[in-house]
Amino acid sequence: MTRVFPFLGRLPALGDVFAALGNSHTYDPRRNAFTLFGLIWGIPISIFSMVVDSWVIGHPHRIALFWEQPVHLLFLIHPFLFGVIFGAMGTVREVQDRRIARLLKDQEGHVAQLAKANLDLKKLDELKIQFMANVTHELKTPLVAIRGYSESILEGRFGPLTTKQRDGLEVAVRNVGRLEKLIQELLEFERIDSNAYRPSPADFDLVPLVRLALTNFEPTLEAKRLRVQLRLPERLLVRADYEGIRHVLLNLLSNAVKFTEPGSSLGVNGQASEDGLQALVTVWDQGPGIPESARRFLFSRFWQADGSAKRKHGGTGLGLAIAKGILDAHGSTLQAASTPGSGTMMHFDLPLARSSGPGKELRHDSREAAHSRR
């Protein structure tokens, strides 16, 4: 009905009108005003009826007409009728307005609640950052004395050591390093997760950085007899946050080194894109690859392909999440391509430094710098 006559939707429901007619005991300034308005509107009608009477009948108005022809009474009560109807309409308007006001007030309350919740969350986030900073501080502090004294003893500062003592202490020192790395990783992840990480871009050559990052894994590469193949141009000047990209490379290489079976290969490819705007970097390995079902969790925090108690490889499961967070902050992305059983390729791109000139020149220098270890 309201579709055909849209104005009907705006009219008060009949039930509301009757309810308002019955609602006479509450003080309602709006209804009083409407009643007065109705009364005033009703007066011309009764006057009009009297004028018509005089004109049709041809003689002046007589009081006796009201009981001789009662229809005149109907005209006379018009002011009262209008008063009541308008009064009811006024009440309906008042009730509706109150309802709207209440709804608006409720909504304001909800908005205030949401604003407060948001503020609480922000405070909580600040607390979390502070808490993480405190926890890492407290975790690192005891390491100072442990590492320091272990190293001092190992260096023979407190007298000579037997080979067995030396071996034991070396293990202790190595594990302090491991613990320190773990704490650092948690702190780093927290910084990225809470959007506190802002890259400070500078121009630098990616090639020496890749080689430098690889030196961190030399003992493992040696022990696992892994072949490293570098396909890099002579120079690859990019504009990015040096520390951040170093972290990305370390994390990607760490995974590659960790998951590649002994005797297999891994490598880093780098080149300038066709349009000379981007440096394309790929870190690849010949590890077990990532199963199809696991791809969508790959960059999730704490996720590991094998999270079971019997898992073979250690780590926090934060490496890829951190790498992705750093690259995201650079406006880049980290993409994974993997064939289960034959390896994984992690790919990302970075803007080339403007001073590096056209990309073609860089591509021209591209040569295979593959070298194998044993």
């Binding site: 900073a133 690192k140 100072v144 004395a145 190293e151 001092s152 500062r157 320190e180």
Partner: protein
């Protein structure tokens, strides 16, 4: 020019870390004065004018950065190295501006500590 080894003031509210630093530097032949309270460190800096102060950053009442600023006012020739488990390298530029001569992140290795101490005493700022 004296042949006496330079005096190093070590400030840390953690007694274990303090005794470790004392042992390490003493073993290297430096004259070392361990202090566990930053206000004592300011007093020592005023009286003894040490060649170098190695200080923790997070300490009750006065943090290492404030200590750095005060020491630079009292004894501008004294070098100051911050050794901290709090924060990261992002604060380095800031403390460098305040006159810091070196920064180490805990837990630093013996080699890193000795190298930084050596460089700070020689007046080489680490970048």
């Amino acid at each position: 020019m004296t042949h006496e080894k330079p005096l190093i003031l070590v400030v840390d509210d953690e007694s274990d870390a303090l005794s470790y630093l004392y042992d390490l530097l003493h073993n290297e032949g430096y004259r070392v004065l361990p202090v566990s309270h930053p206000f004592d460190a300011i007093e020592c800096a005023r009286q003894k004018k040490p060649a170098l102060i190695i200080t923790d950053v997070r300490m009750p009442e006065l943090d290492g950065i404030e200590l750095l600023e005060r020491v630079k006012q009292i004894a501008p020739d004294t070098r100051v190295v911050l050794l901290t488990a709090y924060g990261d390298w992002s604060m380095y530029q800031d403390v460098l501006r305040k006159g810091c001569d070196g920064m180490l992140l805990k837990p630093a290795s013996n080699r890193e500590i000795l190298r930084t101490v050596h460089q700070a005493l020689e007046g080489v700022k680490l970048c």
